[in-house]
Symmetry: D2
Subunit: 384 residues, 4 copies
């Protein structure tokens, strides 16, 4: 048995905690992955970083990400900081020869994203993007079924991602509601997941985009008075895919009663598939033109990503996606292949996000996206 | 008790049967409506019309709609013929001084629809359009709850109407798939219902439209070989409403596994409402910003339209909407008021349908609709 | 075409209205049945009976059931009066040579039920019992699928019928809560439907019974003060069937949030079936040992009982069961065969109800039921 | 900060893995618990135990449970071995002064269980039983709502636990299907969870039991030919609770289409609650006599057990129950109070299981259970 791969996580907030959970558990769940050593957690406050490292299982705590990135005993740098820091940290880690996992979004703008893709292309280490919903077993099963042709050719996808946390007009102003810090609102935050899924499920690139953005609540209370909201509360888009399918997308952070409702309905020439994230372990599968929707509980040993968990009927939670994501990276390192999704996948998603905004600015007119392949990966083994 | 109102139905097919059911049952269900006499059924084939009249409960059978429309003992003419005949028959009946009910769509094009609205304005009889889904008790409850402010101001509506009857590429060519006979495809057939509901639920007119149409199956088998499909299989639209809400609309006749899935999700500033036509008797209601979706079985005596039916828990079927629609017309006649929906409602819907097609032709760009009030009615008592 | 069959309904309340709806509509829905003439409605109050007859479509109104039963132009007597009148009326009608339909329950006690069965055996007319849930299309489909062996041999049935109308401790005393007028409470009212379904779905008789009754609310307000409730609020039973299956039954009129929840889950050696009455048009079907539950919308033309109604996706309501029940009787008259269910089916159900009460009185011990075939009918064509 | 508590897990199979996950994660999720050190994993095979220890995060691996139990640096012994070993191991660990957690079932028979309760009463360490479903957040919320009186007084519980793994008649013989090794079949395996929930949700003891057992498949294939199954495939029971409620219980391992369906419906005088384990993160709550069932996604920070996990809408999986269970034990150790559930809770459940079997043997007659309080704990803080 070779030496374990040393891991460092940059970031101690929500995503830092979720990724720490993945590194702590990946070896216990998946038996075919290289061993890891949780070497360092990086945060901004020394005391709180040390406490977090103790709680989350890290050997060292640091506030100096650059020195950590250059440590010889660190093989994997996992970037969980706010989006505007992704490019600098990821590029530095790649230049230091590390394998890099970056939490989504890849970057705040397309130029930065392109620099990151370029850095990844020239790096000795592998670069992976953290669209964790690719590791929802039900969505991985959906993708596998579609790839096998079980619902025929995909004609249309009806997709939404609805949350309710901004329903209240008095919900306070935050950096997430300013264009300069967040890029966009519901579109980037929620739409990026949907667009990634549309690409992953069909295996196709988006070639045409129509979009619309709405901000229902133009002002929100700041510490010293009302402040102007400069991002969207809700967004709609219609995406034409290279393979001929059309996807509609409806995302909102002002949808009362919906907590985390990523919903997808895929219609093919010979069946359909439905999914809702709040029912994480279920997939609805309609096979054949006259078929009826069957509710599959995606917990069988032969279902994708399930091989390392529990017996049938024992449901998984949201955090399991991060564990499976870590396993994907570890297997890719062991095999010396590109993990999925790549930085190029992140760039492809950002091009679509940008096009939605441009279409909205142009009154909804269709924006063509170049057919240049942004490097969409399609490794059969990822949906085992 | 005064003499019963004489009724004639024009048309013996699916809609003729559904409307006959309404006239046969309306007096038994609703006790506050004038009595009716089922005088004449009009069809094209003498023998089959006679047989249908016997089975459906009509005294006379006729193949001459003009003579029936002029009979003195006919008070109500109910037009259930194919759409291209609506204008001629309805205008003739109005000119003969009759009350007229026209099954949707009002007409095949906007010019015809405008002539019908004009005829209705100058007629002594009342004119009503058969958007029967206004009489789904759950949708009537939704409308009442929204009108009462129970979910606050409506911000967005996510709507779809999905069917599967054209999934099969070998489904044969019919008049419904040719632009010259059907006007449009899924858009007019299914979208019209959705647009009417969006208007009814919000009480607002559509002021801006973005749309897209798709025909997935360009050819279908005809009797002598492949024929060209000239209407849409699926359509999408984004509707801006005068009150500030935005509605997204996704309609398809190629959605495997969906039989008759009109689905609506209305998000307000203080709650949400959900409905699916395949679960006709249920409404999902989320009250308050922190509320949870409650499943209401809409069969209580105090629910809208329920007063004449059965005790709580005894579900209604699709045909009940026609019975309640007939009751609306009869009550309007008794009260001398305009029934709802009006021909003007039909015209308003058609303007939106046209705008969707024009937006699609213009690459998705937003079409402005004039703010001229097309006569949207808003009688509080209709949602009792 | 022969003369129509003359029909009289005895009873003008809830069931009289429901059965009137059936006679009014049966010819319009089902095209293979003899024509009927709605001749007479019988009630107790002359004025109200006349008004009801007018509203419901009856030619004559009468308060003298005996004279109506003897009219030469009456061929079918449909008994919808309270249960304690069933035996006298049904036997008189059979002795007058009429075909008889009796609303459930057949009678209040086993002795009466046995006299009715004897009268039916010696009559020239046909005798049918009104367990209308045999005409729920989804339940008819369930029965057909089980008969075809689609779920293998039935091992167990988990059944419930839950309502909420007695949850309130202040719900007033009525005749339904006294043993002398109602026989039993939830057991007879709700349990009888479940037991009939268990027999119909399996095609087997009940051979062993364990039961328990509970009255949670011992007193309820009467007009002059609290009165004693002498029937059960809830009942449980475990039924052993001749074919080897076991059915559990849980019925209650104090189940908050449940309006009319007849629920059935049938487990076989090779699949399972689920149904809930509040979702009248749906059946859940699991085929095979590894199958997943598929939600079937039971509105296709090839589904049982659907041939006369509407196109796929257009749901039926509760009242459709009475229309289909009337069609079954009319077809049986035309064919000269026993309609289903028979009076003997009613007697078989009552034997089980009695056994549940006896088991409860004996502390839950198992009661054996004789294997004498009570005449369970099993006409393949009834589940078309 | 004091020294961490040393933990040893005995057992490396399914439950050993689940409990290891709990110890590995408890400190990262819950911030108010004492730190733990994962000191030793005990198995039967040296090589496989060492490999499991490495994968699961244990410092030492051992095949000698007695020496581990006596180590000074072990404070908590967590018994995850097969049931027939529980008594010996737990008693030894208690006698060595350790805190003990025993996976359910407590023991195979009542005599053993009583010895374990006695040992726990005299021990210096704390003793806890692993009914992990007490840590399903939705069930903890149900318990809290009932305790607050939100559905009034509980009248009835309709409960089931349905699985499908024995549907296939050719599923092979195992130790789980022999009375001498497994005690009972579905009754003990699944019924024990249901009975524990019935007690926990009501806070009441079972005082009367009626039961029935069925073995549908009497023989199953063994290595050398058919062998006799000596435990139940399915069981039913009716439980009378001290507080006046009645619970029905329906458990089966031959229910096609049901993977892990623990289902509970609790009806009170003023509302109802519903739960299904396959939808782990949902609770259905009906408040008031006229209320409608609302679907609560139990992922809010204020919901029980949720304080340490993820933001609202991010669902938990089955394994989270073990993490929360470990936290309960750690908090109890820190506070010096009895954790819940206790060994006495396990004994109480076993008394009910025994009574079900005795009732079945007696033809279903009701068995009275003594009112001696078996030590049911009711710590308000456990459902935080």
């Amino acid at each position: 048995m070779s030496a374990p791969l040393g891991v460092a996580v940059l970031g101690t907030a929500f995503m830092g905690r979720a990724h720490s959970s993945a590194w702590r558990n990946v070896g216990a769940v998946f038996h075919d992955v290289p061993a890891v050593a949780m070497r360092a957690l990086v945060g901004s406050d020394p005391g709180r970083t040390r406490a977090a490292a103790d709680a989350l299982g890290w050997a060292d705590a640091s506030t100096d990400w650059r020195s950590v990135v250059e440590r010889d005993d660190i093989d994997i740098v996992d970037v969980c900081t706010p989006g505007h820091l992704h490019a600098e940290m990821a590029i530095a880690a790649l230049e230091a020869g590390k394998h890099v996992l970056v939490e989504k979004p890849l970057a705040l703008d397309q130029a930065e994203a392109e620099r990151m893709v370029a850095a990844a292309e020239h790096a000795s280490g592998l670069a992976m993007l953290g669209f964790n919903y690719r590791r929802v077993p039900a969505l991985a099963l959906a993708r596998a079924l579609i790839a096998e042709g079980r619902i025929g050719a995909v004609r249309s996808i009806r997709a939404a991602y609805l949350q309710d946390w901004l329903v209240d007009p008095d919900a306070p102003m935050t950096w997430r509601l300013r264009a300069e810090t967040a890029g966009s609102g519901a579109l980037g935050d929620l739409g990026s997941h949907v667009i990634d899924q549309v690409r992953a499920l069909t295996g196709d690139e988006v070639v045409g985009v129509r979009g619309a953005l709405r901000t229902f609540q133009r002002e929100r209370p700041g510490p010293t008075g009302p402040e102007r909201v400069s991002v969207d509360d809700a967004a709609w888009a219609l995406l034409d895919l290279a393979g001929g399918a059309t996807a509609s997308l409806d995302v909102s952070r002002v949808a009362a009663g919906r907590k985390n409702a990523l919903e997808l309905e895929v219609h093919g020439t010979d069946g359909a598939i439905g999914f809702g994230l709040e029912r994480f372990n279920e997939l609805t599968v309609t096979e054949g033109r006259d078929g009826w929707p069957a509710r599959v509980l995606v917990t069988e040993a032969h279902h994708p990503l399930l091989e390392g968990w529990w017996p049938p009927g024992h449901v998984l939670g949201w955090d399991s996606t991060f564990t499976a994501q870590a396993a994907e990276l570890l297997r890719a390192i062991a095999a010396g292949v590109q993990p999925e999704p790549s930085f190029a996948d992140g760039l492809a998603v950002q091009r679509v996000l940008d096009a939605v905004a441009r279409s909205d600015a142009a009154g909804g007119a269709r924006i063509e996206l170049g057919q240049t392949d942004p490097g969409h990966t399609d490794r059969a083994e990822t949906t085992r």
